[in-house]
């Protein structure tokens, strides 16, 4: 498997540690980078030495720059707009879903409470990130117990 790079933009340390643990469980070949808010993420991504991630997981409520604004900024940048963005948040409000999908997110996942569920989701994404990402997400949203909208 090619090395997979994930970027998680989230200010919640508990959520980050759970995410990290689950990824380590799946395969050590995933490189996870974290950013605590939108500005930090953009700064990181626009840095010359940064290798761009294969996928971005983006929280909604964060200090300084929230997920929606960060998403818009990402989609404005000619280099960054190609990276698929998955909203990864506690919200399940239709307003948030509609708005982020309109701004170009490919998927909206409500943070699951079950570790095995998260593992299932992340490992599917990891396997398909280079080829069948959209199809994989759609299958996940149809079959998973977690709230996923594509």
């Amino acid at each position: 498997m090619n090395q997979v790079r994930f970027l998680l933009v989230d200010d919640d340390e508990d959520d980050i540690s759970v995410f990290q643990e689950v990824l380590e469980d799946i395969t050590p070949s995933i490189l996870l980078t974290c950013a605590g808010d939108g500005t930090e993420a953009l700064k990181l991504l626009k840095h010359e030495q940064t290798k761009l991630p294969d996928i971005i997981f983006l929280d909604l409520n964060m200090p300084l720059m929230g997920g929606k604004e960060c998403l818009s900024e990402l989609k404005k940048d000619p280099q960054l707009k190609r990276i698929p963005v998955i909203m990864y948040t506690t919200s399940s409000q239709s307003k948030d879903i509609e708005e982020t999908m309109l701004r170009g997110a490919i998927c909206f996942i409500t943070k699951p409470t079950s570790l095995s569920e998260l593992k299932h989701i992340l490992s599917s994404i990891c396997k398909n990130v280079h080829s069948n990402l959209e199809k994989c997400l759609r299958t996940l949203s149809d079959t998973s117990g977690t709230f996923i909208v594509c």
Partner: protein, 387 residues
């Protein structure tokens, strides 16, 4: 005070003396113009007006007086020596007079008339004052009410916002309790006792999460979305699809008749059917698969008892199940917030479902009730205006 208007000084003098002798205050004006000036300036309770005067005559003066709002109610008695013909008398009344006296006159009779008219004027004035006072009071009260209403609206909106934020933020720590309990459960299940305790933590937290979600749903109901004419069959079919798994697990069967299209908030009405149908599935008799029948009729009144009428403006929807039913003496309770009729160990639930139903139906200007007997199934009846 009484105003006497006459161009002849001797007439003014004799009338003024007559009035003063009878303890009336009297004022005089020697022409129509002077009279109008004085009326604007002073308060009079009666005007005795000569008809024939040089310049402005009595009729013109009277018309002017009745034209002012300040003086329009002051009674005018015409006094004339020359114009005693019927048409002059008529003209006097038409121009605003209350009486037309011809000379020579009987002073006693004049005094009696003055007494009557001043008394009438005083009463009219008192009545007007009361009316004005009342109007002012009503206006003030209306203003106060409108103000209070606005304050209520604001605090209501704040409260909804508060409920929404509170329940939304409550979810966050709870989600973590569940997540980390799950991790404990998944990784450290060696000790059986510990795993049992963790299971209890998870079950309770999940229940709390349902509760918070239900509260969130309830607080969201206060926003006003759009009413759309929607086939009820469509709404119910959606609901059944959503509940497919639990219906299948229970071995349930649902029969739905042809239902009409009604102007509703589809998302909310879906919730109504979801809550009622999932209750019907949940409260089934042990060992007996749930059977639910849904049908409707029309009626002319917002009532569950009124006669059906095919051209009625209300639609009644019946949702009948074969479950455990309930004692009708608890009818009010089942629609109240947090009210449950069963122990949690017997049947899951937060006690918010039917209160959401009630709130939604009331928002649709309809009514909801149920008929049941303990052990004998329940029929929920929803009455909705078709619009």
């Amino acid at each position: 005070m009484i105003l006497i208007v006459d161009d002849k000084k001797e007439n003014l003098f004799s009338l003024k003396t007559l009035l003063q002798l009878n303890l009336y205050e009297a004022d005089t004006a020697a022409s129509g113009e002077e009279a109008l000036k004085k009326i604007l300036k002073n308060e009079y309770e009666l005007i005795i007006l000569d008809v024939q005067m040089p310049g402005m005559d009595g009729y013109e003066v009277a018309e002017n007086i009745t034209g002012y709002s300040k003086s329009k109610d002051i009674p005018i008695i015409f006094l004339s020596a020359v114009n005693i013909d019927k048409r002059f008398v008529t003209k006097g009344y038409n121009s605003g007079g209350v009486d037309y006296i011809t000379k020579p006159f009987d002073p006693d009779l004049l005094l009696l008339k003055i007494k009557t008219f001043t008394k009438l004027y005083k009463q009219t004035k008192e009545l007007n004052d009361i009316k004005l006072n009342l109007e002012q009071k009503v206006e003030k009260r209306t203003e106060e009410l409108q103000h209070a209403n606005k304050e209520l609206e604001t605090s209501n909106a704040e409260l909804q916002q508060y409920a929404f934020i509170a329940s939304h933020d409550l979810q966050e720590p709870l989600r973590k309790i569940i997540t980390f309990s799950q991790i404990l459960k998944e990784r450290f299940t060696a000790n059986k006792e510990a795993s049992q305790y963790i299971n209890r933590v998870i079950t309770s937290s999940e229940r709390m999460r349902t509760l918070i979600n239900d509260l969130l749903d309830y607080s969201k109901l206060s926003v006003t979305p759009e009413f759309i004419k929607t086939p009820l069959n469509l709404v119910i079919q959606d609901t059944i699809t959503d509940l497919e798994i639990s219906i299948k697990e229970a071995g349930g069967k649902i029969v739905v008749d042809q239902l009409p299209s009604v102007k509703i908030i589809p998302e909310q009405m879906r919730q109504v059917f979801q809550n009622i149908i999932s209750n019907a599935v949940k409260f089934s008799k042990p060992g007996i698969p749930p059977f639910i029948k849904i049908w409707s009729d029309y009626t002319n009144e917002k009532s569950t008892e009124s006669e059906p009428s095919s051209k009625g403006t209300y639609c009644r929807i019946y949702i009948c199940d074969n479950g455990i039913g309930f004692n009708e003496q608890y009818l009010d309770k089942i629609f109240a917030m947090f009210q449950r009729l069963h122990a949690r160990a017997e049947y899951e639930g937060t006690g918010i479902g039917l209160s959401i139903v009630k709130k939604i139906i009331e928002k649709h200007d309809g009514l909801v009730t149920a008929k049941s007997e303990e052990g004998n199934g329940a029929t929920f009846i929803i009455v909705l205006p078709i619009k």
